[in-house]
Symmetry: C2
Subunit: 412 residues, 2 copies
């Protein structure tokens, strides 16, 4: 028995016609001899509508009830997909999260999958069922309440099922035909990648590429799930889309696999901070407590025992950050002269496992930006990623320049 997991996102099941089209894709895989587990999202827009109801009803909502409400859209598409498959004479049935059961933590709104018992679905496969349709995004807590996995959580459901059932592959059907070297809306030379390494996909996902939920990539990497991203709107072959896979499965690669960007960043600088041990903890502790996601951090060289401390965070967390730092100053926990906020910045990053073996990627990046007169405000690096903070108005220019500089329009 070879099990294939296929996941269809919200635009791929947006209405009855699209569900029929997705069912045809499933039928192709069934005809190849696979037993198929289909994971479905809610119809596009449905979850947003439900979230709106919750927020209108109770601004500070009980996350358990939020989950009970927002998980309902997936039940609809799961049932409809099973019906459509039956209509094509393919034995199929739907499962809601609690029926599998998809056992999760109690962290409502962003629960983690802890276990997926396989016996129930495997028995049905043995009895002749060809497709198990499972409502994505949802699970059940140890207390028996409905949980959800966070936005984009159906990707994680799909990968978790692929891992639990030891699937040959996990195909993520979406409205794009794969993972690109960068966003084609910004750079027309953007090229679809045939393969990308888990590590690269993970960086790209967390840097703002919206193709896959970050957690689903982590999970795929840990359990070695072959993950494929492809379009539900095109005829597909076994080679279509982008395969997210182990580094070893990629023959040759460019130094840089892709360019990512994040538009809504803010840069905040605390000037003239006393340069003493523990000052970083004194600043970033209160920020963490206030729920500010600090991203890049730079500390200037100290002069006369004082220094400047700069960090970036999402634009919509600036008010929260200012409040937390103001209160810390009032309490006397930290001393600084000024808090300078710049809400007109963007982050541009290059990502690639090839960086480990190719020297000079950073230098090449800075040179390309300098050639376009783009001023770099903050730099951070990791083993396979270099990010810079720049003025937002140069963002598209920077993405295009870097795409050219690293020759991403051509395969390695």
């Amino acid at each position: 028995m070879s099990i294939l997991v296929m996941k269809f996102g919200g635009t791929s099941v947006a209405n009855v016609d699209r569900i029929a089209r997705a069912a045809k894709r499933v039928a192709v895989e069934v005809a190849k001899g696979h037993d198929v587990i289909v994971i479905v999202s809610a119809m596009a827009g449905e979850t947003n509508k439900l979230v709106g109801f919750v927020q209108d009803t109770s601004p500070l909502y009980d996350a358990r009830e939020y989950d009970a409400v927002t998980s309902s859209g997936e039940n609809v598409t799961a049932g409809l997909m099973a019906l459509r498959l039956q209509e094509m004479d393919i034995p199929a049935r739907s499962w809601q999260g609690w029926q599998v059961p998809v056992m999760t933590t109690s962290a409502h709104g962003s629960a983690r999958i802890e276990a997926i018992p396989t016996d129930n679905i495997l028995r049905k496969f043995r009895e002749g069922m060809k497709v198990a349709v499972v409502a994505g995004f949802q699970g059940i807590s140890p207390e028996g309440r409905v949980t959800t996995l966070g936005r984009g959580g159906s990707d994680t459901t799909a990968v978790a099922f692929a891992a639990a059932f030891d699937a040959v592959r996990c195909d993520i059907y979406t409205d794009v035909d794969g993972v690109y070297t960068t966003d084609p809306r910004i750079c027309e030379k953007a090229r679809k990648l045939d393969r990308i390494a888990f590590e690269e996909m993970l960086e790209l996902a967390s840097l703002g590429a919206k193709v896959l939920q970050t957690r689903s990539v982590e999970l795929a990497m840990r359990y070695k799930v072959k993950l494929r991203v492809l379009s539900s709107f095109e005829e597909q072959t076994d080679e279509a889309g982008t395969l997210v896979c182990d580094e070893e499965d990629i023959m040759e690669s460019n130094a840089v696999a892709g360019v990512a960007y994040s538009r809504d960043e803010a840069k905040m600088t605390l000037t003239s901070v006393p340069d003493r041990p523990g000052i970083a903890a004194a600043i970033f502790g209160p920020l963490a407590e206030a729920g500010v996601n600090v991203d890049m951090i730079v500390q200037n060289i100290s002069e006369h025992g004082r220094t400047d401390m700069t960090f970036s965070c999402p634009n919509d967390q600036v008010l929260r950050a200012e409040k937390a730092l103001g209160e810390a100053k009032a309490r006397g926990d930290i001393g600084f002269e000024e808090l300078v906020t710049d809400q007109g910045v963007a982050k541009v990053s290059v990502v690639g496992i090839g960086m480990r073996s190719h020297a000079g990627v950073a230098a090449q990046m800075f040179k390309a930006l300098a050639a376009e007169n783009v001023n770099i405000k903050v730099i951070t690096t990791s083993e396979i990623k270099i990010s810079v903070l720049i003025d937002r108005k140069y963002m598209e220019l920077a993405v295009q320049a870097l795409h050219d500089a690293f020759g991403l329009e051509k395969a390695a």
Copy 2:
């Protein structure tokens, strides 16, 4: 601990504002010291939308998937109602059918409730919860699949909970302010009844009055649940609406409590049927198998060993009836000369437990119709009901004439 069950129908929870209004009604009852079980329908229109999706996807749908899809609307309103109550500082949580669990038969699409374990919800009440919000219309089969109770099934959920928890009363909030002597849209003299006997309500519900699901009234009668129908759109007192109760709780009553009608009836006559034992079974057996709901049946006096057989059924079942009878004739199971179908008829009924003690109700009814020159085509009677089939064009006239003839505009 005194438990009150309150049920809110689709128009009463049609949007976030109406849910807030319904929650205020619940708060009033909580303030009186009740522990409250709230049963909610889906937002008005939502279930129809889901049924449409199912029919578009699979005309001959698997009822198990139909149930999985159509039950989802109630989960949304249950969660939102719980959130709204929490927002008003009333401890509340939602239950989906499988969480209670509402245990039903496996008759998907029209399942019957078999048991409602109370320990789970009672424990929460003891722990300080004030309101349990339960998704109506749904349950769980012995196989662990989601079931639904048929259209209007949330009424039945409400009565079943009232019976299981020995509730002081079951209040059904809807878009009308009670049960009327007849449909106010047809007869402007229609009067709201303060009380009506279970038996009368049962007849009215099965004769076409859409206020309550028939099954919910049966259940209330069997378990002596005090059932009240009232409007969610008006300020309410303990005496508002209509109380559906035991005959003994009604002091005095008119001979006739109400006039019901059903517009979409058809009359079918088989002419010159051989009058032999077993002929009725030979005719109505195939009709039952074909799913035709035969209502009234009249057999003419026999002449020369042959007779005419007339029956009525819903208009949209005529084709099915014609097919079943044609096939039975072709098989030689029944012999008849002609099958005459009249799709232009309506049924008008008068209902009242007072008929048992008031003589001459039938005569009075026929006289009133004769005075308006309304020709009666078929008559059936029961202990507390008289129904006639008439030309549809006289239906409204007949309802008004009967309402006048039995003086229904005035209380007894």
